[in-house]
């Protein structure tokens, strides 16, 4: 009994007790968006010394917060390990999981999640030391491979070697990406494997990043995107369309800098997106300038990409698949109308 009272006292003290309304209402009531992120992945989500977050996944959450509150700072980032990211979403601790998570069937069907889009088309690759002179992942027979536990990476790795004639290898499994990359750096493993984007990010954590290369082989499809709980279509739409709005903005040439001038533009597409014409925010439970707010706060998809992982960042990842469909990539957003 004592325990129960104690537990409930503590729970009441610390716990975030949310009302059982829709997610959007809860978020508005709380006054902030709870966004689950990676605890530290350069380019996607990483806090600096002062606790200010930056990254592709982080900016998506900021965009959503801006669309809801007209204030991109009304978001709380909750760093989650690969292990408990889905339970955190399921339990309602976070409203959206923007944590470089791969969209898979089982995650939607069995875990009851919905992926609202793909903000980064990725694939799993390998990093090795330059001096090993390896050209392809097929030469990794007999190698030790460091890998993070509890990810699709671990399974893809196993599948890859199995489908390549059962080549022998040694998986060395760690609970966190940090431990895995450090073990690779210290020479415990010949190779480190994870999604390619993450390889570039993790490479920055190595003592001598230029001594390591990412092999060209991509052994899996990893569409990364934000996920929400099933059963709240309005919230799902809100996340999905905030993401689409940013892609559409890039396609329409709307940037963070020129968004105010574009308010007076003539093109109907632009006018609809920025809420000058029609009210497309209403169905999402937002004001009609929702997309304007999001773009104003974080910019269009291209800007976000270049700033965090692309040419303007330390990662220098090429757009590749993540270019707009009109530029040879596969980022394609349905129109706002």
């Amino acid at each position: 009994m004592k325990k129960l009272i104690l537990a409930s006292m503590l729970l009441a003290g610390f716990g975030a007790v949310a009302a059982s309304a829709g997610t959007l209402d809860q978020v508005k009531q709380k006054g902030f968006l709870a966004c689950g992120t990676n605890p530290g992945l350069p380019g996607f989500a990483i806090p600096d010394d002062k606790g200010v977050w930056s990254g592709l996944d982080v900016d998506l959450c900021r965009g959503i917060a801006a669309a809801i509150f007209k204030d991109a700072s009304k978001v709380k980032f909750i760093p989650l390990t690969a292990k408990d990211r889905f339970t955190a979403l399921q339990s309602g601790e976070i409203d959206v999981l923007s944590r470089n998570g791969t969209w898979t069937q089982s995650r939607e069907v069995e875990l009851g999640l919905l992926f609202a889009g793909v903000n980064y088309y990725d694939g799993q690759g390998f990093m090795v030391r330059k001096k090993l002179n390896i050209a392809s992942a097929a030469d990794l027979g007999g190698a030790s491979v460091c890998v993070q536990q509890g990810t699709t990476t671990e399974l893809n790795l196993s599948d890859y070697f199995r489908s390549h004639g059962g080549v022998k290898y040694e998986p060395v499994v760690f609970a966190t990406a940090d431990e895995a990359i450090k073990a690779y750096d210290s020479g415990r493993c010949d190779s480190f494997t994870t999604d390619v984007s993450q390889l570039y990010g993790e490479r920055l954590k190595l003592v001598n990043p230029e001594e390591h290369i990412v092999l060209p082989d991509i052994i899996s499809k990893e569409p990364l995107g934000p996920a929400v709980r099933q059963g709240d279509d309005q919230w799902y739409n809100l996340v999905k369309w905030t993401h689409f709005a940013m892609i559409n903005a890039e396609e329409l040439g709307i940037t963070k800098a020129n968004v105010d001038q574009k308010l007076t533009a003539e093109q109907p597409n632009i006018r609809r997106l920025l809420g000058v014409e029609g009210d497309y925010g209403k169905g999402l439970g937002l004001d009609k300038d929702w997309a304007y707010q999001a773009i104003k706060a974080v910019g269009n998809y291209g800007e976000i990409f270049e700033r965090n992982v692309g040419a303007d960042s330390r990662l220098k990842i090429k757009r590749g698949l993540n270019n707009l469909w009109s530029n040879g990539g596969i980022q394609y957003a349905p129109p706002v109308r």
Binding site: G150, L155, P171, A175, E179, A183, S186
Partner: protein, 394 residues
Amino acid sequence: MTDTTTRIAPRVSPWNNPVIRGWIWQFVLLVALLVLTWSAVENAATNMASRGIPTGFDFWNRSAGFDINQTLIPFTNQSTYGQAFWVGLVNTLLVSVIAIVLATIIGFLVGVGRLSKNWIVARLATIYVETLRNIPLLLQLLFWYNAVLKPLPNPRDSLSLFGAIYINNRGLILPEWHWGQGADYVLIALCAGIVAAIVYTLRARRLQAATGQQSPVFFISLGLVVGLPLLVFAVMGAPLSLTVPQLRGFNFVGGIRVLPEFVALLLGLSLYTACFIAEIVRSGIQSVAHGQSEAAHALGVRQSLTLRLIVIPQAMRVIIPPLTNQYLNLIKNSSLAVFVGYPDLVQVFMGTVLNQTGAAVQVIAITMGIYLLISLLTSLGMGIYNQRMTLKER
């Protein structure tokens, strides 16, 4: 009449009757526990249903799809989650058993060392105990793994012993032995030697009891257990071949590889537990009355024999119960494997399997159940042993 009795023992209201009050208290606790359990189960059921968390155990027979780097029982990525569980459990038991043996040996040496008359030995033993037991085990594990084992040279620059044993940052690589034809006879000779040694020892003991005559038990037993198989081994033309590990590609091929993760865990667990065992041994020895060893000395028994024949057997009675606790602690502490990436039960089952299946409740319940079972079995076994010790001492 009735009036007087009531006056002598005034009627107590049921509320003040201790027996009834006791039952009320128990009833309240029972109801509270039931409500707590019921609401927890109810909540868990709703939560798990709404979050799509699997509730059954059908994951057990599903194919796992991942690999493990140390498997004492066959395991491939087509094996089931259930088999992964057994792999993890065997790995836990392996490291625990070896660490228990090591910790016991080191602990006894250090414990005796602390009481040594040799000043430097006693001081060093004290420093050892005081340092290691005041530093968290996790820190020690990380130190062994990250600061000692990982900076070892890479396979190409391995440290080599006799050109057959290699040490590098991928572990300790030992030559593997294969028995050839006639190896069965060596095994038979070994068994025969052990049996003969036991028979001889028993006879020698009887002889000593009857006549007081001592026999060279140690040397004859050694000859029987080691010499006899060696002789047969030589006669059969040394039917043993070694596969010496060779550097090919990334790493050594052939031979037995002991993972650095395993070594780090083993070192950490045994050195840490040893200092607690040392303290137990010390207090056990100190609990034996001084007169015992003085009497032995008066009879002219040597110091080492006094310790072995007089003091330690009596100290064992005091030592064994806390020693059991330390063994259990060691087994439970082996779960820290997850911090150095050794594939023990917690790392494989509560780590990978839990993540891939999402069956959190079942996996955690099974893991806890296994540790509980190991704990209960160990204390049971030690209890029986303890009982025997006590009986003999009567």
